[in-house]
């Protein structure tokens, strides 16, 4: 890990390759390690991460809980040439300890776990019943590979600008619902580095949710159900709940129309056949299939037929919505949201498969997010070299990572810290008041 091999010097550009291509290659294992050393040395935003996860408990206010940050579990994945080691229950007393540890170990992945009753590193000193998670952000994990059955441009770990809109849809719907319905305010969306997005809900109310309450929220969102053996994964037996109606009207309806055209759903028989399979009326299906032998205005035709009300088959009333939801509604990994001890990758990690940094996404501008132009670690290092003379006073400021760190601070961290300080202040004041009251004669 410490060898200085000029052949693999990340500072040298292979001048035979076009500029952009080299940055999009997945780095080899040893190259990645070298990159990470530099990345953790100059780019990783330790102070911001600490400020976030301390939630105001930075020791400056008498009402702070100085043990809070130290009771948070982190886990490191450390890869070397031959091996991969997974270290759980890492904890740090403050930002500087965290920084030292990360720089020393150079993990390929950092995960964030829950805040426990005691310092995770000291858990063995306590009875089993004394070591429990007490706080944990409400989290969501969405993977575009879960949509492989409805996207035809890519599959598996790949994604492109044609299918990425599925993630945009998920962000819009989930973000709106978390704010409008559940009343949460401090929500962080992060690009997972390759094929998905993560969501961290950080309000104190969210952090204190029990497993049962998290389960309830996960189930509230759970509309797409069933594995490969069930035909119909979305079934609406009657009028839609206001949340689903809003998702449909505001987002899904027109997104599906766009999806039809980017994925050419009605131009290939096997593709529109899948849609026809969702219609529970044989006569409708065969009539459509016949008429479509030469016709391409099929979606309108289908909608017309299902909405006309001429067929009274049960299950037909909501068929259009069912089709739209089946294709575009967010598909969550429910288990991630339900548990309190699920470990989730930290923002600003580098994805080992792509070299891309897991940067935050602004939900209000999520349509503009382009996963193919997210900075890679190689790119950042190159920028640092080229811009060495530019007047920014820190390393990050000379590179495209500055935009992301700025976004993190202004849209998420600063409002969060303000709320946390307010909460600490009022909790402290009411405690003082209580003591005063109990002391009065």
């Amino acid at each position: 890990m410490t060898k200085e091999d000029t052949r693999d010097d990340p500072m040298q550009i292979d001048s035979n390759l076009p500029q952009q291509h080299q940055f999009n290659r997945a780095p080899s294992a040893s190259l990645l390690t070298d990159y990470l050393r530099i990345y953790y040395g100059k780019f990783f935003p330790y102070t911001d991460m600490y400020k976030w996860l301390a939630y105001g408990n930075d020791g400056k206010h008498p009402g702070c809980d100085s043990s809070y940050f130290g009771r948070r579990e982190f886990s490191f994945t450390i890869k070397s040439d031959r091996d991969e080691v997974y270290l759980r229950f890492q904890s740090f007393f403050n930002a500087s300890e965290m920084e030292t540890s990360i720089k020393a170990k150079c993990p390929t992945k950092i995960d964030i776990g829950a805040v426990y009753t005691v310092d995770p590193a000291k858990r063995h000193a306590y009875a089993q019943s004394g070591f429990n998670p007490v706080e944990r952000e409400l989290i969501f994990d969405i993977d575009i590979s879960d949509y492989d059955d409805v996207r035809y441009c890519c599959s598996g770990a790949d994604t492109c600008l044609n299918c990425w809109p599925l993630m945009t849809i998920a962000i819009k719907i989930i973000d709106t619902t978390l704010r409008e319905d559940f009343g949460f305010n401090h929500i962080l969306w992060v690009y997972s580095g390759r094929r998905g997005v993560h969501c961290w809900v950080c309000d104190s109310r969210a952090r204190r949710l029990s497993k049962e309450q998290r389960s309830a929220i996960a189930d509230y969102f759970h509309v797409y159900k069933g594995g490969e053996n069930s035909l119909k994964k979305v079934t609406f037996s009657g009028p839609l709940h206001p949340f689903l109606a809003r998702a449909y009207t505001d987002v899904l309806k027109h997104e599906f129309e766009k999806w039809i055209s980017t994925q050419k759903l009605f131009e290939h028989e096997e593709r529109f056949h899948k849609i026809l399979q969702l219609i529970p009326d044989e006569s409708v299906v065969s009539e459509l299939a016949e008429k479509w032998q030469g016709n391409s205005i099929r979606w309108e035709h289908l909608k017309h037929m299902l909405q006309s009300g001429s067929k009274k088959t049960q299950g037909l009333r909501r068929c259009i919505e069912e089709i739209v939801f089946s294709y575009t509604y967010p598909r969550l990994d429910i288990q991630v949201t339900k548990g309190m001890n699920h470990l989730l990758k930290a923002p600003f990690c580098v994805h080992p498969g792509t070299g891309r940094v897991c940067i935050p996404i602004d939900p209000k501008k999520c349509e503009e997010f382009d996963p193919t132009s997210v900075p890679t670690v190689a790119q950042l290092i190159e920028e640092l070299n080229t811009n060495a003379s530019i007047g920014a006073d820190n390393y990050v400021g000379k590179t495209s990572l500055a935009v992301s760190v700025n976004l993190f601070r202004t849209c998420f961290l600063e409002p969060l810290i303000r709320t946390c300080k307010d909460e600490l202040e009022s909790a402290y004041n009411s405690k003082i008041q209580q003591t005063k009251d109990s002391l009065s004669w």
């Binding site: 309830a216 069933g226 053996n229 689903l244």
Partner: protein
């Protein structure tokens, strides 16, 4: 042993409710005899256990209402209403002592007591319900007129999505959504900015959540008190009774397949085709086909195999043989072996996990790429028929089974499958995949008399 004379008190027993449905807020200051201690507990336990059985057999809410009514009358009711209340309270608190001591027991007790409370609450008249809600201080959460007007159409929209007709309700309770997780989970309530607007008709859910959370906290406290004080103080009097009550057989949990029931790897294919229930056959088949299963699938199948008698070393060899074909032996050792050992209680906090019951499996929902869950619930009719066909189910039985599935009686469907493939009837009904396996082996054993699996006679399905 002291015999304490029983004394009657009229309602001032600290139960906290004048109605006939107590909330068990504080331990009563009643006096009663030692034999009442045991007998009352057993009577109540009979009720709780029957509720547990009813739920796992998928009985509908109306059936459960009747069941609870009957059970209560049979086991707990007394001619004198005061006596009934007294027995009610005493038996609850005794069982609290018995069931506070282990996590699994706490969870079971909590679920059954909440279920019991729910059914009894529904059977109360409006007056009684109102008085209980007042005790829980819900009168402070009634939605005011001004606010109601602003969200009226959303409330109607939500009501229509639940009942399919506009059900104009006038009384709503505005509570934090955390208080009604069930209603939120099933999208049966309108929520806005963190508050749920619960119509009067749905208030049962709210009341039950509060009840459940109160009992849960109480159980934790009781556990601590028991461990630190009472257990010692009472070691000659109550402690032995509490132990005995805790050991009353409630049905096998299949986590330890008893010393003699073992299976070996070479038999596993054959056992899968003759004695695994459909859910496990499916997982097993997919594992053989894809050389991989996602996490929930590994849990469901892995714990089942443990219950069936597969030893840890054999389990590791089995999973490794499959997974290494997809991810390689090294990756298996690094990423998957740990969780198999974890299932057997050899890692982490060393809990010996119990194989999932039908109730648990039915309630799980598989997603993309998953193969766990109950096939009777999730497979399309076509796929289910095909799968059952492969098991050798004949046409007539097939139609009966499909009928049960359409009516959502998944466990009955599985029982019929068992009967069709084994040529006998299964009186007790399937409520656990390992039960299916054990019953199946019994039949095969008696038919062929080969020592493929020796089983313990202790599995009596009381």
């Amino acid at each position: 042993m002291e015999i304490v004379r029983s004394q009657r008190r009229n309602g001032s027993d600290g139960s906290g409710s004048a109605a006939s449905l107590p909330l068990y807020k504080t331990a009563p200051s009643l006096e009663f005899r030692l034999d009442e201690f045991g007998q009352y507990a057993i009577d109540r336990l009979r009720v709780l256990k029957a509720i547990s059985d009813g739920l796992s057999r998928g009985k509908k809410p109306e059936e459960m209402d009747n069941l609870v009514g009957e059970l209560w009358r049979a086991n707990m009711k007394h001619q004198d209403a005061d006596e009934t209340l007294r027995k009610d309270i005493i038996s609850h608190f005794v069982l609290r002592l018995v069931y506070c001591r282990e996590e699994e027991m706490r969870r079971w007790f909590l679920s059954m007591e909440t279920a019991l409370f729910r059914y009894r609450f529904r059977l109360q008249n409006a007056e009684a319900q109102k008085s209980i809600m007042n005790e829980l201080q819900l009168q402070y959460n009634v939605l005011g007129n001004a606010e109601y007007e602003t969200i009226k159409d959303k409330l109607t929209e939500a009501a229509r999505s639940v009942y399919f007709t506009s059900n104009p309700e006038s009384v709503f309770y505005k509570v934090p959504f955390e208080d009604v997780p069930e209603l939120v989970a099933n999208r049966r309530v309108f929520i806005l900015k963190g508050f749920a607007f619960v119509p009067r008709s749905q208030v049962v859910s709210l009341v039950c959540t509060i009840f459940r959370s109160n009992i849960s906290k109480a159980l934790a406290l009781t556990n601590r008190k028991w461990r630190t004080m009472i257990q010692d103080q009472e070691k000659d009097r109550l402690a032995p009774m509490v132990e005995a009550l805790g050991n009353i057989y409630l049905g096998p949990d299949y986590s330890k397949p008893q010393d003699c029931a073992e299976i070996s790897l070479k038999d596993i294919n054959q056992l899968a085709s003759t004695s695994f229930p459909l859910c496990m056959r499916h997982l097993f088949g997919k594992l053989r086909e894809d050389h991989h299963l996602k996490h929930q699938g590994r849990m469901q199948l892995g714990l089942f195999l443990k219950g069936v008698g597969l030893k840890l070393e054999d389990a590791l060899a089995f999973w490794k043989a499959e997974f290494s074909q997809k991810v390689g032996a090294e990756r298996f050792d690094k990423e998957y072996a740990y969780s198999i050992r974890h299932n057997y209680g050899k890692e982490g906090k060393r809990t010996d996990y119990t194989p999932y019951s039908c109730q648990k499996i039915i309630m799980s929902t598989p997603s993309t790429g998953d193969h766990h869950g109950c096939p009777y619930r999730h497979f399309s009719e076509e796929n289910l028929r095909a799968a059952l066909n492969k098991m050798g189910v004949g046409r007539r039985a097939m139609d009966d089974i499909m009928d049960k599935v359409r009516n959502r009686h998944y466990q009955l469907a599985c029982t019929l499958t068992f009967e069709a493939t084994h040529g006998t009837s299964c009186e007790t009904g399937i409520n656990h995949p390992n039960q299916y396996f054990v019953e199946s082996r019994k039949i095969f054993q008696s038919k062929v008399n080969l020592p493929l699996v020796k089983f313990s006679q202790q599995f009596c399905l009381a």
